[in-house]
Symmetry: C2
Subunit: 266 residues, 2 copies
């Protein structure tokens, strides 16, 4: 099942209303897609309202408004190596704030305090149940599904400042989308990042140093995860700068493509 | 003005209800304190409901439920030195998650993955208005007030892991309280931490490497701050371990005392 969050475009009696919804159809033919609205949230047993919309009549929003985003650094060995870093003995965990989240139809605003902004394609895990100290074998129970994320990073700021709140937490530094795929085995998916159609990053989730399940165990050992919280699982090799005017696209096999333009901060 | 968040204790018709309120009276004589409930939130022009409670009939909660907490490391030179660190050229910024927040009547739960938990007494700034790219001279406009914070840290985990999400983000790692003092000059306040009444940390906010205003400028350069967001401003020298059974108290001149017991995680 593909769960999106959307607003209804102008021209409909429901224009402007924001809902979760289930997307049906063939993503390769957007004109075939239909969105069935859900009542309330998508956790537990989602209830359809009976309202449906053609895909062209809705605007996709970030599929979740997470309370927190916990991210993991250097979880693909080739990416750690390309920046001159070792794979850490213990997963390297940091937060991105809710104010950094944007959806698939919004733009990355180049932050004025950096001159080296870089995208990082990542598999995002969306938590479905409040949980803490999750045992490895029960991790699947706490996951709602998966989406594409871009862990946008001001590389120069990251290298200058010892902790990464500003480098990875600026407004628009966390594009998420296009939707949450709930039926997916995350263990071996192709993941790519393109800039203006040119391939930059290409990897497979099977190259992760720690698996999705191991990361959830490690993070939830320390802190409660809430429904809607998002865990980013690291990026494969191939990172490099982007510029105002570029279009960055993160694609993950079995999910889809999250594309965002890069604009000057307004 | 002192703004608290509280629930009404058993025995009142309003038992269990949660509100913000204005605390009046002399904190040195708790029996003199009265809490005047506010309608809704304390931002903008707070409106009293007309309901008042004796202090002994309410239970103080964390004075804010922040969307995000942005913290600053090594902002007192003597504390940086005691851990063998230099004062960074650029302020070192990190996040603590909302799930780490507890109030003045809750307990710090010792996390099982650490054997060296340490309190850090800090002045907390509570944001009152949505803002970004705040100029130095306009910082006072975006501040609602100040409270005491304890930036509880698993020191062994912090030293083992390159980024501090687990070391400083575990559940209960961010006690806040007892209330928000809105009329306060933060530039030269005594700040202490005691453990079981024994003085551990003692400093003055005038020893901060970067002032409150400079920190807000620096953080808001990157990210939007929301009403209720909290900025922690660093801790003075004197950090050391605490144990289950201890009582930790953070006191700041002009605000009051935030005391929390340390318990085994349940």
């Amino acid at each position: 099942m593909r769960i999106a969050r959307f607003s209804v475009r102008e021209g409909s009696p429901a224009a402007g209303s924001v809902s979760f919804g289930v997307v049906e159809g063939d993503p390769a033919r957007p004109e075939s897609l239909v969105v069935h609205a859900l009542a309330g949230h998508p956790f537990g047993q989602p209830q359809p309202t009976g309202e449906s919309y053609r895909f062209q009549d809705v605007r996709l929003l970030s599929p979740m408004l997470p309370n927190k985003i916990v991210a993991v650094g250097r979880n693909y060995a080739a990416h750690a190596a390309e920046l001159g870093n070792a794979v850490p003995d213990v997963p390297l965990t940091f937060f991105k704030p809710s104010t950094s989240v944007i959806g698939p139809t919004e733009s990355i605003a180049y932050p004025p305090f950096s001159s080296d902004v870089q995208p990082e394609a990542e598999l995002a895990v969306v938590i479905g149940r409040m949980c803490r100290e999750v045992p490895l074998e029960r991790v699947p129970e706490v996951i709602l599904g998966y989406t594409c994320a871009n862990d946008v990073t001001a590389r120069d700021v990251q290298q200058r400042e010892g902790q990464w709140a500003r480098a990875k937490g600026f407004d628009t530094a966390c594009p998420l989308g296009p939707w949450i795929e709930t039926d997916l085995d995350p263990s071996d998916l192709a993941i790519t990042c393109t800039v203006n159609g040119e391939l930059r990053q290409a990897g497979r989730t099977s190259e992760m140093v720690r698996s999705v399940a191991e990361l959830i165990v490690h993070i939830s050992e320390a802190m409660t995860l809430l429904p809607g919280d998002v865990v980013l699982t690291g990026t494969p090799a191939g990172v490099g700068p982007i510029q105002v005017g570029d279009e960055v696209a993160v694609s993950i096999e079995g999910i889809g493509t999250l594309a965002n333009k890069v604009v000057k901060r307004g």
